[in-house]
Point group: C2
Chain length 340, copies 2
DNA sequence: CACCGCGATGTTACCGGCAACATCATGCTC
DNA sequence: GAGCATGATGTTGCCGGTAACATCGCGGTG
């Protein structure tokens, strides 16, 4: 279970390399920086020395002089949630590809003091930039009121789409059209927390789609993304359920909705339909398997890193690709039929 | 969605502080290091200057001289899995409490070359230590064959418990005793991948418990922790199911098992019982809610950091606390009854 | 053949801390 | 009251890089 590791000899520096190669350390630096004007034989000697000594630049020392590091502090939170988690994973990959390392700082959303403290800690390090992956207003707020000395990219919302780039038929619209196609007219939305940008966006999408498709919204209930909140939304509904379709803001919530519906004697999808958002791996194995909207969080994380890197390099940021989503139809939705 | 941030003035250094306070920079350092022999009035002046300038030590420069940094590279993988994810979260918190930052490096378990590359990248940075949270043999292997120049702590297995510290009644034993109490005799284990230490441990626990409780194991099927693998294990069972209880290696697998059982016409828990491990938040909202074994991954992550920190500081590592687990009984298990 | 220009390489200073050593002003001893 | 130990603070060099500037040697030119 435990492996100790004897500390071996100190790592080689450019001075070691220079000595072995019989040149000055500046020549070593030049080679490392890709300077062209080095004579081939000199170049070879230095390259050989680097190889022999297993030289690795000390990135710490480098960033001390250049004032630029290759670390990106990533502020995130709720990484047990699928969205933030996958976004982070995507960001991690994109950063690594660019030779950057992510310092992941997980914030406690509900503790503003802790958020400050974490941001403070991060700013002591020599950072190339700060990537704030904020999904909630509190965090967004904390970030916006902080002055960083380095480039910052604040990505808010787990699925915020600029209105103009949301083709009808994308996002929740696809879900509601699917339900409308099945004959549903009365729908309920079990939303996420109101302080999550993503939750508000989904509500907007939901309401826009309802209006456009001529459906009737029988309620928007705020949950907290959890299965529990989905369960309670349905279980505590005071009277008979007014809708035949329940649009949950994410898959976990949908899971809770299904359980509560079962307990109230409704069969899914025979009596009512339920949909989720995210397409978590488990969604295909719910009972019944869940109709849901697949989002590409990983790409979002990668995009965010690209934006930040552009900012760090002082170049024009690449255009944000449109968010793609895909309706996955499974067995939790079915044609509406007269209530018994 | 996007917030630019103008680069403001450069951060203050000890020299700035010294100038403002009218002392030498060494005095500033002394204050920072908690040196006692500074005259109160001098101390006050320096402290005041630090406050006014908003001075923050440049940790990069510090570690360049001390040769010690406050970064820990954390090698992990599959962070979408609940176990690794929560372990990481716990490690993160423990590290932050100790003033360390984690560089999280997510490895692709199935790509040895990428593992090497990632480890290589990490070793360019000035690290205080390496925390390898490895759950699979491939990663363990890659780590073990790498020479780090810094302290390493390799934590293998998501729930490996030294045999002597596993009181009977803990771990899967509790699950199987629960099933035995309900009258079950024939059980099947849907295990994790064979190259995960944690999966092998659970198999051992399962087999030991079966033997001790006088049950009969009707099979151990290797899955891959996913709901899909649980589903397929049951769906593809060639003949009539030989058992009345199915012990899944984790909750996701159990979810798939339940769906497959439903589809084969078995009702849970009326006809057969199903159990999981982990107690993911959703488990309480499966249909039916899942009887499972709750593990404290967060604590495991924290413990791992403690072990590494002890190593970094060159002191004796604190004893590893025993792993706690707790049986959570819900509605996926019930008394055995004669098959119809 | 002395001079100039330029390419190749060496020298030096600096980034922001830390620590060893130097210095200076006390107060105490004898 | 001189000598000295001691406490408080200043000076210097170094960590491992980078970059500006200096130098050196060579070939071409008038």
């Amino acid at each position: 279970m435990i492996e100790a590791q004897p500390s071996v000899e100190r790592p080689a520096t450019i001075y070691d390399v220079a000595r072995v190669a019989g040149v000055s350390h500046a020549t070593v630096t030049r080679l490392l920086k890709g300077y062209a004007g080095i004579r081939p034989d000199t170049r070879d000697r230095v390259a050989k020395a680097i190889r022999e000594l297993g030289y690795r630049p000390n990135l710490n020392a480098r960033s001390l002089t250049t004032g630029r590091s290759h670390r990106i502090a990533t502020l995130t939170h709720e990484i047990t949630q699928v969205g933030p988690n996958k976004i982070l994973e995507g960001a991690n990959m994109a950063a690594r590809d660019a030779g950057y390392l992510l310092d992941v700082i997980t914030l406690d959303v509900h503790d503003p003091a802790a958020i400050r403290e974490s941001i403070d800690l991060a700013s002591q390090f020599d950072l190339a930039g700060v990537l704030a992956l904020s999904s909630t207003d509190e965090v967004t707020n904390a970030v916006e009121t902080t002055t960083f000395r380095v480039p910052l990219y604040l990505a808010t919302g787990t699925d915020k789409t600029p209105p103009d780039s949301t083709p009808a038929g994308n996002g929740l619209f696809a879900v509601l059209r699917h339900l409308a196609d099945l004959g549903h007219r009365d729908v309920v939305h079990i939303a996420g927390p109101h302080d999550w940008v993503g939750a508000r966006n989904r509500i907007r999408e939901y309401e826009a789609a309802v209006a456009e498709l001529g459906l009737r919204s029988r309620g928007v209930i705020h949950g907290d993304w959890s299965a529990r909140s989905g369960y309670e939304a349905i279980a505590s509904w005071p009277e008979e359920l007014p809708a035949t379709a329940f649009v949950a803001a994410n898959d976990q919530t949908a899971l809770g909705v299904i359980l509560a519906l079962n307990e109230r004697g409704y069969r899914v999808p025979d009596d009512v339909s339920v949909t989720g958002v995210d397409d978590i791996p488990e969604a295909a194995y719910f009972s019944p398997p869940l109709t849901t909207l697949r989002l590409d969080f990983t790409a979002q994380g990668g995009d965010a890193v690209q934006q930040l890197l552009a900012r760090i390099d002082g170049v024009a940021p690449p255009p944000l690709p449109p968010r793609r989503s895909e309706l996955i139809v499974r067995r939790s939705t079915g044609p509406v039929r007269p209530r018994v």
